[in-house]
C-alpha cells in the first residue's frame, strides 16, 4: 500500500482511483480509462474541497452512503461536459439519417404507406439546440423529407430552458458548429446573437415533462425515435429505471432510443435490445411485446 496520509490537495492513490472508477461506473454507467486519470483527479479534488471534506476517504464514504444529497450531482456536473450547442454529438444524427430512419420507414410499410407521421422526441431538450439540430439536418440532408411527415417534439422538466428554446435566440458558442450556409439560410443575426427562423421554430413542439412521471409520460406515445442524452446519469437507481420504463412506453415497438455517447442501459434496465450501428450503440424497444 502506498501512503494513505495524502491530503486533499494531493493526487489520489492508485487504489483510490480504482475504487472511485468502479463506483462511478456502477452508479452512472460512465467509464474512465487510465488516460483520463489526471482529468478525473482534478475534478474529484474540486468536489472534495467544495464540499468541505478533509480528504478522499471521508468524501468517498459520504458519497457512497448518500450521506449528503447533492454530492453525486455535483460530481456528475464536474465529470460530464454539460454544455449544449447545435449539432453536438452529431454522429448520432448521422445514424438517424443513414440507418435509423430508413429502417423506421421500412418497418412501417415504406414511404407513402405510413399510418401517421414519423415522430422524434428530444428529451431533455434544454434550450432547444438538440431538436432544432434534428430539424436542420433532416431538412438539409434527409432525401425522404419531402415524402413523409415528420413531427419533432422537445421536452424538458425546466420551464426556464423551455422558454429560451421557444425564444430560439443563440450566441456564437451555440451555433459554432452550424455550417455558414445553414446559418445564412436559417438564422438572422441580431446584434451578437443569432435568431433561429420561425419556420424551424414552428416545426418543433415543446412540452414540459418529468421523464420519471409515469402518468404525464403516458401522453407520449408511438415515437419512432427518442434522443435521451446525458440525463439518466443524474438519476438514482430507482428513478433511472422508471425513466427507462417510461421511455419504453413512449416508443413504438421497434422504435429507437439514443443515449449519450458515454451512457449505457446495461446498469439500468434490460427492457431494451441494444443494437450496433456504424456510428455506435443504439437501443430498440423489442417488436414482440416485452422481451
Amino acid at each position: 500500500m502506498t501512503s494513505s496520509t495524502k491530503t486533499a490537495g494531493a493526487a489520489l492513490t492508485v487504489s483510490d482511483f480504482e475504487k472511485f472508477r468502479d463506483y462511478f461506473y456502477k452508479r452512472t454507467g460512465i467509464q474512465f480509462t487510465e488516460s483520463k486519470r489526471y482529468f478525473v483527479d482534478k475534478r474529484i479534488e474540486t468536489c472534495i474541497r467544495q464540499a468541505g471534506y478533509s480528504g478522499f476517504a471521508s468524501w468517498f464514504a459520504a458519497l457512497r452512503l448518500n450521506d449528503r444529497s447533492g454530492l453525486l450531482q455535483e460530481l456528475i456536473n464536474q465529470l460530464t461536459v454539460n454544455e449544449t450547442y447545435f449539432l453536438r454529438e452529431d454522429y448520432q444524427f448521422e445514424s438517424l439519417i443513414r440507418t435509423v430512419l430508413p429502417d423506421v420507414l421500412a418497418a412501417r410499410g415504406g414511404v407513402g404507406r405510413l399510418n401517421g407521421p414519423v415522430k422524434i422526441l428530444s428529451l431533455p431538450c434544454s434550450t432547444g439546440e438538440e431538436p432544432y439540430s434534428i430539424a436542420l439536418r433532416l431538412l438539409e440532408e434527409w432525401d425522404q423529407i419531402d415524402h413523409v411527415d415528420v413531427e419533432i417534439h422537445g421536452a424538458d422538466i425546466d420551464s426556464d430552458v423551455l422558454a429560451r428554446a421557444e425564444l430560439a435566440s443563440y450566441n456564437e458558442r451555440s451555433v459554432h458548429r452550424v455550417p455558414p450556409a445553414w446559418r445564412k439560410k436559417y438564422f438572422t443575426p441580431v446584434g451578437v446573437r443569432y435568431q433561429l427562423d420561425e419556420g424551424i421554430r414552428d416545426a418543433v413542439t415543446l412540452h414540459q415533462i418529468n421523464v420519471c412521471d409515469t402518468v404525464a409520460m403516458r401522453g407520449f406515445r408511438d415515437f419512432d425515435v427518442i434522443f435521451c442524452r446525458n440525463v439518466l446519469i443524474y438519476f438514482d437507481e430507482l428513478s433511472s429505471r422508471r425513466a427507462a420504463e417510461n421511455l419504453y412506453g413512449a416508443l413504438r415497438p421497434g422504435g429507437y432510443l439514443f443515449l449519450g455517447h458515454s451512457e449505457s442501459m446495461s446498469r439500468i434496465s434490460p427492457i431494451f435490445t441494444p443494437a450496433r450501428l456504424p456510428e455506435g450503440i443504439v437501443y430498440q424497444r423489442p417488436i414482440g411485446g416485452s422481451r
Binding site: R64, L65, I152, T205, G219, E237, G249, R291
Partner: protein, 198 residues
Amino acid sequence: MGLVRRDQQPAAEKAAPSAASLVEQLDDPDPDVRREAALGLDGSAEAVPALIPRVAGETDPAVRDAMLTTLAAHDTDEVAEALAVHLASDEASLRTSAAEALATMPGSVPAIIPRLVQDPDHDVRVMTAMVLADLPHPGALTWLADMIRADPHPNVVTAAIDALLPSITPEHTELLRDAVHRFPDDPFLRFTVEAAVG
C-alpha cells in the same frame, strides 16, 4: 410533407386511469398492458396489497421489473417484508430481482437486516450480502464486516467480501485474513482475499 407541427398536447392531460382500473389490468393477458398498469400504480399506496402477491406469479420479466420498480418506491416495512421472502425463492431471477429492489429501499430494509443475516438458509444470507452491497445506508459496511467475521458458511463470507470489495480499506486486512483461517479448505476464498488485500 416535411416537418409538421402537432400542437395539441399529445393526449398528455387525458384523464389518468384510476388505481382500481390499473389494478384490474394487472391480470390482463397482454404483458404490455400489465407492465403499463404496474408502472402507472406508482405512488398509489392502496395498490401495494394488489402488487405484492403478483410479483412471484408474474411470468414476464419486464412486467415483474415494472412491479418491483413501483413497489420499491414505497420503501415501507410491508413491502420490505414481502420482497425479502423472495430472497429464498428457488427461481434465480426472482431472487436477484428482489435483491435489486431491496437494495433501493434504505428506509425500510435496515430493520429486517438483523433477521436476514441470521436466516438458517445460507442462500438467503448470500442474497442479503448482495442487498447490502448496493444499499445506500451507513450501516451496510458494518453488517458486511459482521458477516465476514461470523457467518459459518464460506459462500456467505465470500459474498460479503464481494460486496465489501469496492470499499475495502487497510483496516479490513485482519478481518479478511481471519476469514481465510476460518475456511482453510476454500481456495477461492483464499485467492479472493489475497487479491483484495494485496
